[in-house]
């Protein structure tokens, strides 16, 4: 019956265990703190999707700003009767496109969708987005490490983000 020998060693063991735990927890935290910087390319870009404005979202997603380009083609209706379903497509004649993102400027969170385009996939995507009200839709195309954009205003008669 070792446990009944005396209280002292047991307490000492507990203290040592406690210290060990603290050390382990401390080590465990370290990689977590470092991951966002490294894994930004394949992890879900939580911060960018939480950003309120389009400028903040682009900065969070790419860390740089975009220049307008006529090689980015944004197809969106002039007037969307139903803001809950707005068909939007983006394509580009630029070479080496690596990603396409679509933002709706005045939505509660501007970034709507971000697509990764690996080599061999055509720089063209179509989807359907929700729009809260009449505002600009912004298409961002990342090509050869640079950002290019196209903007179009879409008039919304019935918003798709409220009750």
């Amino acid at each position: 019956m070792r446990t009944t020998q005396s209280g002292f060693p047991a307490t000492r063991r507990l203290i040592l265990q406690g210290a060990g735990m603290v050390a382990l927890v401390g080590l465990g935290n370290l990689p977590f703190g470092l991951t966002p910087a490294f894994a930004a390319n394949d992890k879900y870009p939580e911060d960018a999707f939480k950003a309120k404005s389009d400028a903040d979202a682009i900065k969070s997603l790419y860390g740089k700003t975009a220049e307008p380009s006529d090689k980015v083609k944004l197809d969106a209706p002039e007037i969307a009767e139903n803001g809950a379903v707005v068909p939007i497509s983006v394509s580009s004649s630029l070479a080496d496109v690596t990603s396409i993102s679509i933002l709706v400027a005045d939505n509660p969170n501007a970034l709507a969708a971000s697509y990764k385009i690996p080599a061999g996939t055509l720089p063209s995507v179509a989807n359907r987005l929700k729009m809260a009200k009449t505002t600009n839709v912004i298409a961002i195309v990342e090509a050869g490490g640079k950002l290019y954009s196209a903007t179009k205003e879409v008039k919304v008669t019935v918003g798709g983000c409220g009750g």
């Binding site: 709507a112 969708a113 971000s114 990764k116 179509a126 989807n127 929700k130 009750g163």
Partner: protein, 103 residues
């Protein structure tokens, strides 16, 4: 349960065009229900298309993507009869995967 993912992948020439339609509420977290209570956010965050063991298209989505999302893209390669694997994960950790034959 039947799959939530419906896919049509069509090969023509040297490219394959893919259209996908997924059944998902895509709740934004801003909409109220009939009792006036906010419906909590519930939306697909990541959608991946794999062909021949490689990702050919990855979507990161926010809650601004419409309910029952639709997406269309095309990639070079892909032969009739080959498999295309599609999977999604939402913000509640739910997921679904399906495999479609390229036509």
């Amino acid at each position: 349960m039947a799959s939530t993912i419906r896919v049509r992948a069509t090969s023509s020439g040297d490219t394959t065009e893919v259209q996908a339609l997924i059944q998902h509420p895509m709740d934004s977290g801003y909409v109220k229900d009939a009792k006036g209570e906010l419906i909590p956010p519930h939306f697909i965050q990541e959608l991946t298309f794999e062909y021949d063991g490689k990702a050919v298209f990855t979507a990161d989505w926010g809650p601004a993507v419409s309910k029952d999302p639709y997406v269309k893209f095309a990639f070079k390669g892909g032969k009739k009869g080959d498999d295309l694997k599609i999977s999604w994960v939402d913000n509640k950790g739910q997921s679904d995967t399906t495999t479609a034959k390229i036509q």
